[in-house]
Every structure is written in structure tokens, then in C-alpha cells.
């Protein structure tokens, strides 16, 4: 009952004119970034994070900027379907599975039906996950209050282990990416001993002189800022990669939209109940898993919906369930990913990693204490999930023609605008031109690594979690006098650590076994 009262109060706060306006703006921006191929929720949230400081300054609270960013996250989940269906190109990785049946439906002349099914399924998925979030988050936060340093470190280890075990990317490259993010996060002063670490530049005195070295020392002493890396990866690197990979034209399916056709599609939505149910439930639980997020959630839901269907042969040819399952799942998973972020301080996806970094920058401490110490922040945010979900459905259905028009905008207009936003945003956040230089260099590096299949999301997650994980490890080892068994013998930390180690070892065993057998004939 207490939860319902707090939720009601949170919804009322979320409905205040400023917050409602920000939610609408966020949803529109999210729908846009989700719909544009090459841009996803993480790009939108990372690039616009520096711009939210003005909202925080104006309101004096972190609630309104967070509502704005969360609405972008939500809107992007809806928006991804628009380009998947009409262009056959996923607007974001979270909408890859939507192309499997959305595009065939569009080619059959039923693009409007596919768009409506995607929007309504997204709404149902979002609503179901919001209810599950409201039910599970407070008790989980209460349990997490009992966690000490070893438990929190074990959870972080689990987050990284799921990237290795479930990420599906090249194992050594994933581990490299995680470790790189963790190491980069240590640049600056050690918060435990106060000693400077990884202050680069002294090696180049012979080339640039003492003054340049001193400048470099001062600059590195501040540490490498999160936004520099996140926007470098998602604002510069991904954009260059998209420009390079999106060569050639795409054809947009013809979409006939009218009020009568939209209403007819809504009335026939119950045909997609099975896919929607599977997506809503499975998406939420996959979303909760650290490092899993909406993309695997939508792919798994599509697979399960197909597997349990009485007409599996329909899938891939334009099944409405095949559109509903991934769309319900990606929305559901996006809320699911918020659960560990807000209750444990561990993000469930790259986008929630950026949101978590934003919370830290705004002066909040994500984790179990958030629910007890910051109810004025938590409940309006949860309330805004419900509100944003309704707004996203209405805006999506009402403005389908507008989004189709926007999708026709050449990428050669959008790309330079994003570059400008990235450069100006990073400068505005830190007011240091060296940060802007580093961001561009990081962008180039991220592009080259992306071409070579290095996963970059683990590095971004690691940069956020590194400053939390390291002190927890060191304090745990100090407490146990250097004995690592502390992570195995405590009742909560023990099982989590064991699961994490299994998740890391299983793919390693598989890789070693395959390598011992030698390359297969196909290789």
C-alpha cells in the first residue's frame, strides 16, 4: 500500500508542467534517435547528457533531467521499429528482430499495421515492466541494504562476467574491453591512498618541453572524464562507422496512414497477444541481467515466440506476433535494465550505464540507499516511466507520417549536426579544449576497434563501474587481510562470485576445447 501511495505521489510530480514537458520532449527526441539508422538510445542519452546540466541548474534537482533522459530511452525503444519496418534497416540494435517480420509485412503493403502493432506491443511491454519494476524494486533495494563491500564487488564481477559469458562477442576482445575501461577509470588520484596514477605526459618532455608536460600532468590529474569517452565512442566513433557502413541507398516502403486504418489495426491487435505476452515477461527478466539489455531480450523473445508458435512457418514472412514479441521485449527490457541500476547501482545496459554516470554527476549515489534516502528522486522517476509510456504510444501513433518524413532526411545533414553537438556538449560540460581533442581521438580509436569487432559497450560500462568496484575490492581485501576467500565464504557474495566465475570459465573452456581440436573445415 505504501508503495502505491508513493507511486501515486510520484506520478503527480511527473505530471507537473515542467516534468511533463520534458517527458514529451524526451520521448520525441527518443523516437527520432531510435528511428534514425545508426543512432540508438545510448547515442541519444550520451550526446544529450551534458545538455541536461542546464535543466538541473534551473530546477535544482536531478529528477527533471533524469525524467528527460529516461524518456529518451523509452522513446528510442518505440522509434527503432519505424525504420526496421519501413526501411528494413534496424533503427537501433534493439530493433533488429523487428525487421524479421516487420519488413515482410511492409512489403505486403501492411506497413501501417506493422507500425501500429509495434507501437501497441511496446506500450503493453512497457506497462507490464513498469508494474513489475514497482513491485520488485523496493524489496530488492531493502535486501541490497544488507550488502557489504564483498557483496557489491561480487555483483560487479557478475556484471562483467555476463558480458563475457552471454555477450556473444569475441572473448579476449570482450575481456580486453572491460579491463581497458577499468584501467582508464583509474587515471588521476587514487581515492584510497591519494597517490597519482597513470599521469601520462612526462615521457614526452624531450619533445614538447616542460610547460607542455606540466599542462598534461595537470590535465590527467583530473582523471579522464566519463563523457569524453562515452561521447567519443557513441557520438564520434559510431557515427564514422555508420557513415562508412551505410553506403548505398535504401528504399522506403510506401505507408498508407489514415485514422481509420490505424483504428482497424488497433482493433486487430489482440491477434498478437501471444508474442506481446512472451516479449513483455521475458524482456523484463533478460533486461534485469547485468550487461544483457534490450537487444538480447528482443532477440530471445522473438526466438521463444517462434518456437512456441503453432505456425512457426509464418515467422519471417510477416507474422504480427513476430513484430509484437521483440517490440514488447525491448521496451520491457529497458525498464528491467533500470532495476539493477537503481537498486544495486549496477547498470543492466550501456544506456543505463550512461544514466548511472549522469546520476553520479548530478550528485546522487545510485544503489540501495537511493530508495530510502532519495524518495523524492526515485518515485517521480518511476511515475514518469508510466507517463512516458503513454506519451510514447500517443506521439508514435499520431505522428507516424512525420517520422516517415524525418527518416527521408539525408544522413549527411544529421551526421554533422551530431558531430557539432558532441564537440560543443563536451566542451560545455568541462570547459576544457583538451577534453574535446581527446574525445575526437577516442572516437577515431573506437571506429578502428569497431571495424575489428572489438565490443565497446563493456568498456563504457567498466568506466562507470571501475571507480566503484576498485575501492570495494581493496576494502574487502584489507578487511580480510589479503585473503580472497572473503568473496567465497560469505552467504550472499559466495554464490554470486561462483556464478560469475562459471560465466567467465564456460566460454573459456569452450574456446580452449575448440582450439585444441583445431580449425574446422569451414574455417
Amino acid at each position: 500500500m505504501d508503495v502505491l501511495i508513493q507511486l501515486g505521489s510520484g506520478i503527480l510530480t511527473a505530471l507537473e508542467p515542467l516534468n511533463l514537458g520534458l517527458a514529451i520532449l524526451g520521448v520525441v527526441v527518443g523516437l527520432f534517435v531510435g528511428a534514425m539508422p545508426g543512432l540508438g538510445s545510448v547515442n541519444g542519452v550520451a550526446i544529450l547528457l551534458p545538455f541536461t546540466f542546464v535543466i538541473q541548474q534551473a530546477t535544482g534537482s536531478a529528477t527533471s533531467p533524469m525524467i528527460f533522459l529516461a524518456a529518451i530511452y523509452y522513446g528510442a525503444m518505440y522509434g527503432g521499429a519505424i525504420s526496421s519496418i519501413t526501411l528494413g534497416i534496424p533503427g537501433a540494435s534493439t530493433a533488429v528482430a523487428t525487421t524479421f517480420d516487420g519488413r515482410p509485412l511492409a512489403l505486403k503493403g501492411q506497413a501501417d499495421r506493422a507500425l501500429v502493432v509495434a507501437a501497441v506491443a511496446s506500450f503493453v511491454g512497457g506497462t507490464v515492466s513498469n508494474i513489475l519494476f514497482t513491485a520488485f524494486a523496493p524489496p530488492l533495494a531493502n535486501v541490497a541494504l544488507q550488502f557489504g563491500d564483498p557483496e557489491i564487488f561480487a555483483l560487479m564481477l557478475l556484471a562483467f562476467a555476463t558480458f563475457v559469458g552471454l555477450g556473444g562477442d569475441d572473448i579476449p576482445k570482450t575481456i580486453f574491453s572491460i579491463c581497458f575501461g577499468l584501467v582508464v577509470a583509474t587515471v588521476g588520484f587514487d581515492i584510497v591512498s591519494g597517490e597519482p596514477r597513470l599521469i601520462f605526459g612526462s615521457e614526452l618532455t624531450w619533445a614538447f618541453g616542460d610547460a607542455a608536460t606540466q599542462t598534461a600532468n595537470q590535465w590527467f590529474s583530473r582523471g579522464i572524464q566519463f563523457l569524453v569517452l562515452a561521447i567519443g565512442v557513441y557520438g564520434i566513433g559510431e557515427m564514422i562507422w555508420t557513415i562508412n557502413s551505410s553506403r548505398g541507398g535504401t528504399s522506403m516502403s510506401e505507408v498508407k496512414v489514415s485514422f481509420a486504418r490505424v483504428m482497424a489495426s488497433i482493433r486487430s491487435f489482440p491477434e498478437a497477444w501471444k508474442g506481446t505476452t512472451i516479449g513483455s515477461l521475458l524482456g523484463f527478466f533478460v533486461g534485469i541481467l547485468p550487461a544483457a539489455g534490450a537487444t538480447p531480450g528482443s532477440l530471445m523473445s522473438y526466438g521463444v515466440a517462434k518456437m512456441t508458435s503453432s505456425n512457426p512457418e509464418e515467422y519471417g514472412r510477416g507474422s504480427v506476433d513476430g513484430v509484437a514479441a521483440p517490440e514488447a521485449a525491448n521496451n520491457s527490457a529497458s525498464t528491467g535494465a533500470m532495476l539493477p541500476m537503481m537498486t544495486l547501482g549496477i547498470p543492466g545496459s550501456p544506456t543505463t550505464a550512461v544514466l548511472l554516470a549522469g546520476m553520479v554527476i548530478w550528485g546522487l549515489q545510485p544503489g540501495p540507499l537511493l530508495f530510502s534516502d532519495q524518495p523524492d528522486f526515485v518515485w517521480p522517476l518511476v511515475g514518469s516511466f508510466y507517463i512516458s509510456n503513454v506519451i510514447a504510444l500517443l506521439v508514435n501513433l499520431a505522428f507516424i507520417p512525420l517520422f516517415l518524413w524525418v527518416l527521408r532526411m539525408p544522413f549527411t545533414i544529421l551526421a554533422p549536426v551530431i558531430f557539432v553537438l558532441s564537440l560543443v556538449g563536451v566542451y560545455a560540460a568541462y570547459q576544457n579544449i583538451y577534453d574535446v581533442w581527446l574525445m575526437v581521438l577516442v572516437g577515431f580509436g573506437a571506429f578502428f576497434l569497431r571495424v575489428l569487432d572489438y565490443p565497446l559497450a563493456p568498456a563504457v560500462l567498466a568506466i562507470v563501474l571501475g571507480p566503484i568496484a576498485e575501492p570495494k575490492l581493496r576494502q574487502s581485501l584489507l578487511f580480510s587481510d589479503g585473503d580472497v576467500s572473503i568473496f567465497f565464504t560469505r552467504p550472499i557474495a559466495g554464490p554470486i562470485t561462483v556464478i560469475a566465475i562459471i560465466l567467465i570459465l564456460l566460454p573459456l573452456v569452450k574456446v580452449v576445447r575448440n582450439q585444441l581440436r583445431g580449425p574446422s573445415p569451414a574455417e
Binding site: F53, V54, D170, P172, K173, I175, F176, C179, F180, L182, V183, T186, D190, V192, S193, E195, P196, R197, L198, I199, F200, I236, I240, I243, N244, R247, P410, T412, I413, A415, P416, V417, F419, V420, L423, V424, Y427, A428, Q431, I433, V436, W437, V440, F444, F447, F448, V451, L452, D453, E470, L473, R474, Q475, L477, L478, G482, N514, Q515, P519, E523
Partner: protein, 176 residues
């Protein structure tokens, strides 16, 4: 692609070694402490300041060796690919886009942020996008103007103006 995979693994391996070496650096104020004294467990203090970055960099190095071996054995997708790392189109795009970004950064010192935004947008829209002059000019003017009102006027974050600073003085009088 395979050559790029191997060269990148070597470069990242060298970077990992450098990180290990830097992680073991003693603090400047205490020259008596030897290099790498901080990467282990210090009695009464727990793990030293270099413990975390040193051992993580060591894992990075192991991963680089692993990636290199996979490249030699052709067991990773990039090492099996016969496609070039960057084809002619990719190289040209990288030079044009990357060159534009570097040019943007250099222009900030001379024309300030707003002048650089104008020039970068004009370059990108005309040269890379091949849009019409009118469209290109309209967007290139609109973006710095909107940015000025958002940052300098609304957020009170003064972006560098370079040699164009005198042009902004009347605007400061009106809006700030």
C-alpha cells in the same frame, strides 16, 4: 583485415605494457619507494595504489597475445576475412570526415566555436553532402546562432570566440 587485426593486437599489447609500467610508478614525493612496490599487498594498507591498474593491464596484455595468436591461427572473424580493413570508399570517407573534425578543432583556436561550427557545417553539407548552397548556408548559419542562444545566453557557458570575439561584444550588451 588480418594484417590490421595483428598490428592492432601488437599496438594494444605495447599500450598494455606501458600501462603496467606507469601503474608501478612511485609517487613523486617519495623517491625512496621503488617502482612496482605499489602493485602488491601492503601490510596494514591493503592492496597498493598500483594493484588494480597493474594487474588489469596485465590481463589486457594476455588478451592481446590471445587475439594475436587467434589472428595467426585464423580463428577470429577479422583474421578470416579477405576484405580490406578499409576499402577506397572507407579511406576517403575517413579522410574527409576525420579531416573535417580535426579542421573543426583547429579552427576553434582562430574562429572560436561558433565560427568553426559555421565552417564545418558548410564544408560537410557542401563537400560531403553535396546539398544546395541555400540549404547548406541556412543550416550552417542556424546551428551556431541556436548554439549561441543556448550556451552563452541561456546556460551562461561562454564558448571560446577566437579572433571573432569583438563581433560578439554588441551581442553581450544586448543579451547578457
Amino acid at each position: 583485415m588480418r594484417k590490421a587485426e595483428l598490428v592492432t593486437a601488437v599496438l594494444l599489447g605495447v599500450m598494455s605494457l606501458y600501462f603496467m609500467w606507469k601503474a608501478g610508478e612511485p609517487p613523486a614525493w617519495n623517491p625512496d619507494v621503488g617502482r612496482f612496490a605499489n602493485v602488491g599487498f601492503i601490510e596494514g594498507e591493503g592492496p597498493g595504489s598500483g594493484f588494480w591498474p597493474f594487474w588489469l593491464s596485465a590481463v589486457m596484455l594476455i588478451c592481446c597475445i590471445w587475439i594475436f595468436v587467434n589472428g595467426i591461427r585464423r580463428t577470429s572473424p577479422p583474421s578470416q576475412s579477405t576484405e580490406p580493413f578499409l576499402d577506397e570508399y572507407g579511406r576517403l570517407q575517413l579522410i574527409l570526415v576525420g579531416g573535417g573534425l580535426i579542421g573543426f578543432l583547429i579552427m576553434i583556436y582562430f574562429a572560436g566555436f561558433y565560427g568553426a561550427i559555421f565552417l564545418f557545417m558548410l564544408y560537410y553539407l557542401l563537400v560531403l553532402g553535396r546539398h544546395r548552397w541555400t540549404t547548406s548556408l541556412a543550416i550552417s548559419v542556424a546551428l551556431p546562432v541556436i548554439s549561441f542562444f543556448f550556451f552563452d545566453v541561456a546556460m551562461r557557458i561562454v564558448l571560446p570566440k577566437g579572433y571573432l570575439e569583438p563581433l560578439f561584444l554588441p551581442l553581450y550588451d544586448i543579451f547578457l
